[in-house]
Assembly symmetry: C2
Homo-oligomer: 648 residues x 2
């Protein structure tokens, strides 16, 4: 076993974790009861007024069971796969024979669409059968294959059924016969990364080393000269424009990349795959590259919400400290990708800085992507919105101020569904006789430590309340370490065991309080994370946020909405000394803590008609303002929104 | 004579005005000695490293004197016409036989390229001879015709030579035979307005009423249903997308338009043409529309620099109060168009508000378009620049932080040349026995008042100094009114005649001090405009400028540059009470007044590596900052620039 693998934490499988109550159980329920059925209807084009998906129809046509043309994006298949993956996670936690029957039927359909050589992509089967594998840069064939594989592994793990896994293996085998370093094979790799991490999942579940080798090959080859995208472009009689190299993360071999570049979702998926391959092959050089890329993202290129990708052009990273709030991209899928990357980094290096970012993205830029009713979505997650500008200044046309029922390019909705349905995977990890608690979620985990069954139950109203009660229920007395993450944002954390406070200062290890003792059934830990309202400043190099402050409480970033504070939020200034009042409002936005304070509002008297005026006397009038959690914005009447508020 | 025409001021012809010294004489000299020769070289593709213009070659090919293909934009001809117009104005003021010879040769070439029916457009002659007049929306045929006409009128007025005027008339006659309301004619109008104002010039110089009728027809027909652009699109087998209507100002008949919409240059040219037609036809309804459009622009859609057009998408107006400083467009040509519009409004309503805007645009967004050496140009005139963002965040890719030697779409450089070469036209107007002074420019004007020759000489270092001495030199004692504009920005103006101060409060009329008396040769007026440094605030609805202030002195808007103030200009805050020190630096930027003051800079101590931090202690350290005139930015080392500075 390689070094990295030896030190690696193991996430606890989804089936062993129950999210029982509190904040995330609402999401689990919503995904199961609303989002998954809603998205199924959309994939079948049965929701009036919503852009036609045509995704299921494409499979029917490809399977020869229906007449018609392919429709949708070239990667339309992936919507079905991601939906199936979400279904799998949901079934793992909440068995549901009816849903499983639908899934089985979809899987049968997918299997029927697969060609005899294992090839499976409805766009190429229907529309351009002679163009397979001729444009890896744009065609998303390997991307869709990756999502098929992820769905197959998830469905197998949830149900034990192998049919989709067999489909995935046949396709993976086919891909393996086409691509690789061996003579006669194409030295290609995907335009949109995704298959790398998927193949490692397939390797882990099947034990087939060729899948790991293929994944490693895709990663090793990426960015090597001569560039495959140039070769294949020439073969098509097309041109490769070197300017696009960083968009695809092929500007350098991956081990030489030190800054996060290009399309943010692709980048995050690639980095996740790099960690996976590193873990399985013991490749320290990949880990080192991932650490550099991680540092670059999280210290220079990440919004306070965990959003990544500053520019609508290429849905891409731009450069250090360029984090515009209003022309922002911060795609929901990119925040999801960041969660994937963070979770993987955390397993190889149990340092809270990874969990902090994972939590930051989850509570903010990820769930801001979905309406509270589970049926409407943001693709772009802005930090400042003036609705009229989104409508009328096309520079901001990509920024919507109301969530949409679906998209022509619908990558985000099923991505949200699969992440939120699998949230149980992100809470705990285990290594030898250490049980890590990364996230505070009202939940119960059943696992084995040194061959002994252990149950651990968290009870908490987190993130609204910082009190977490953890019940330890080993089958018998057991010596092990419970590692509790003390979030980076928390300035004061208290831990008591069975009512007795313990001093954690001596047991902190990379942000985790490591409580090692002989645990008895019924031992009870109480963790108190102080949840003061925090004024957050951005690094002074973030020019957009100079003179501004963001409000955070626990892991939740707050914002102002026009609904609560009137129009023109940019004339509100927050005095240096202000007292924040936190209130839980159970009927507001499905129940959230709001933050109120006395601020000031610029007052110009009656300004009149002039556009510019000299020697204006600005006075400030006191105004009570109300912050709501950022993720819950745009769930009421449309209006302005602002995260970074001017500071006086 | 119609009502409007009766009250209209008459600008004094260029030949009667000499700009003798001071600020604008440097520009006049630069245009003549550097810019016109430089642009001639560019038009002939003789400047290494500059995008090939091919504009002269296109005429050679069209004339059948050279083999080759058309190259450049579909409106490439207009670059030559605008250059010729600039040459004409320069010749009117500074006779130059060598330059006139070059111009004559170009005119001969243009005449040889003209077809026997009068048609003249090198793109269509060379490339698509069978597609003439089939796509008025995009083809710029009428736009180029307009520029040909303007050049022809200017050259005739400067030299008395009729050759180009004849060419223009033949083409105008041809156009008149094709377009109009009469049966059998196409009911078209230009995609890019320009010919409207040009035809009125042609009418004025030739007395041919059909040119006025044609101009009026283009204006009357614009926006009427059924929309011609839809008709011609159908005829081409193409589609008309109604979303584009406002881009072309055809969303409504022009008299019903109340807000400035679409492509800002097109809009400004259209509105200018509307005033011209209104004046000549006595059409009050057009004037009323122009007034509404003027008010909309100047009270809601104009940058403090006089720049118009907030968005790079469509180079267009967006909506009221949307004036982003960093994603801005504010094309140089649009500011020039605003000068045209302002100048025309001023003649029909001698109110300083028109002259104030004309002056605002001239001293700021117009001349910011050209480097101090006359050879490099801005297309876009931003109010805030972070160079790295222009390079790496494609949302700002249209914003350059160094002026360019030329452009593929090179409308701005020759437009600057023709405006600056004709500046003399904008200084004075006359009506009956009133002589208006709109702009304070060191200059001499020779005109006739009630049949008597009068010479008036201004001596001034304006805009650096507010003292203007005006010498009145009538051939004999003469009773007339001298109307001196007291700029809107000026809080304290003093006027003395022959050393004796006069109280102007009783003689103010729409911002002009009207001094009526029996003027004797040698009478001497001294006007003192107080030139304090002003802190300007934007209307609170301009969200981008909330909490910020711009610095203005006289008509000149100031900015901070990185060169003088270090990087990250957004962490500079200007205390409410600060003392400004004005210094004339004769060796800086060709001689400018700079403004210095004690400001404060946010100081975070050593921030470290974190991207976000809680409870940061921001201190402010005093810093001396230096403002330079906005128009002169980007003439030294590249760096950040900012007009709207944070206020403490």
């Amino acid at each position: 076993m390689n070094n990295i693998k030896r030190v690696q934490l193991q996430p606890i499988p989804l089936k062993q974790v129950k999210i029982s109550g509190g904040f995330w159980s609402k999401y689990a329920k919503l995904i199961k009861e609303v989002t998954i059925p809603y998205q199924w209807e959309v994939l079948n084009d049965r929701v009036p007024g919503v852009p036609l998906s045509h995704a299921i129809k494409n499979f029917r046509i490809a399977a020869g069971e229906m007449e018609g043309e392919f429709a949708g994006m070239v990667f339309q298949d992936s919507d079905v796969y991601k939906w199936l993956e979400a279904v799998s996670y949901s079934l793992a936690v909440y068995p549901d024979p009816e849903l499983e029957k639908i899934a089985d039927e979809v899987i049968d359909l997918i299997a029927r669409a697969q060609q005899s050589d294992g090839y499976l992509n409805t766009y190429f089967i229907i529309k351009e059968p002679d163009k397979k594998w001729t444009n890896l840069r744009d065609s998303h064939e390997l991307y869709c294959a990756g999502h098929l594989i992820e769905a197959a592994v998830a469905y197998y793990e949830a149900t034990g059924k192998k049919k989709l896994l067999d489909v995935a293996c046949r396709f993976a085998d086919h891909i393996d016969s086409i691509f690789g370093p061996e003579p006669g094979k194409k030295r290609g790799y995907p335009g949109h990364e995704e298959i790398e991490l998927a193949l490692v999942k397939l390797y882990r579940v099947t034990g087939e080393e060729k899948y790991l080798r293929l994944s490693k090959y895709f990663i090793d080859e990426r960015g090597e000269k001569p560039l495959y995208f140039e070769i294949e472009a020439k073969a098509r009689g097309d041109e490769w424009d070197e300017q696009w190299a960083s968009y695809f993360q092929v500007h350098l071999p991956v081990r030489e990349q030190t800054s996060a570049e290009g399309h943010a979702v692709r980048a995050a998926y690639l980095y996740s795959g790099m960690v996976d391959v590193a873990v399985e092959t013991g490749d320290e050089s990949l880990i080192q590259a991932c650490k550099k890329l991680w540092d670059n993202i999280t210290t220079k290129r990440m919004y306070i919400t965990g959003g990544i990708g500053s520019s609508s052009f290429g849905e891409a990273f731009t450069f250090d400290f360029d984090l515009p709030n209003d022309t922002v991209y911060a795609e929901t899928c990119a925040a999801i990708g960041l969660v994937f990357f963070a979770h993987r980094m955390l397993q190889i290096d149990p340092d809270r800085r990874y969990a902090d970012v994972m939590e930051r993205a989850l509570y903010n830029s990820v769930i801001s992507g979905m309406s509270l009713d589970g049926k409407k979505y943001f693709y772009v997650n802005p930090l400042e919105v003036w609705p009229e500008a989104c409508e009328k200044n096309k520079v901001k046309a990509h920024v919507k101020y109301t969530r949409q029922p679906w998209f022509k390019c619908a990558c985000c909705p099923p991505n949200l569904a699969r992440l939120l349905a699998s949230l149980g995977k992100y809470i705990y990890s285990i290594r030898d006789n250490e049980l890590y608690v990364h996230l505070y979620v009202d939940s119960e985990v059943q696992t084995k430590i040194s061959e002994n069954e252990v149950k651990v139950r968290q009870e908490t109203e987190y993130p609204w309340d910082g009190r977490i009660v953890i019940n330890i229920l080993p089958e018998r007395e057991l010596d092990f370490t419970l590692a509790l993450r003390i979030p980076g944002w928390c300035k004061d954390a208290k831990v008591s065991v069975n009512g007795e406070e313990i001093d954690i200062s001596g047991i902190m290890d990379k942000g985790y309080a490591k409580i090692k003792r002989l645990w008895k059934p019924g031992d009870r830990i109480e963790l108190l994370l102080s949840m003061t309202v925090m004024r957050v400043k951005a690094n002074p190099n973030v020019r957009e946020d100079e003179g501004r402050v963001a409000i955070q409480r626990g892991p939740v970033i707050y914002c102002l909405e026009e609904m609560d504070n009137g129009p023109n939020l940019n004339n509100i200034v927050l005095p240096k000394e202000c007292k924040f009042e936190v209130k839980y409002e159970k009927d507001l936005l499905n129940g959230v803590c709001v933050i109120e304070t006395e601020a000031e509002r610029e007052d110009y008297g009656s300004w009149g008609e002039e556009l510019y005026k000299v020697d204006v006397n600005v006075s400030y009038k006191p105004v009570r303002i109300k912050f709501i959690p950022y993720f819950a914005w745009a769930n009421r009447a449309p209006g302005e929104m602002m995260v970074w508020v001017r500071e006086k």
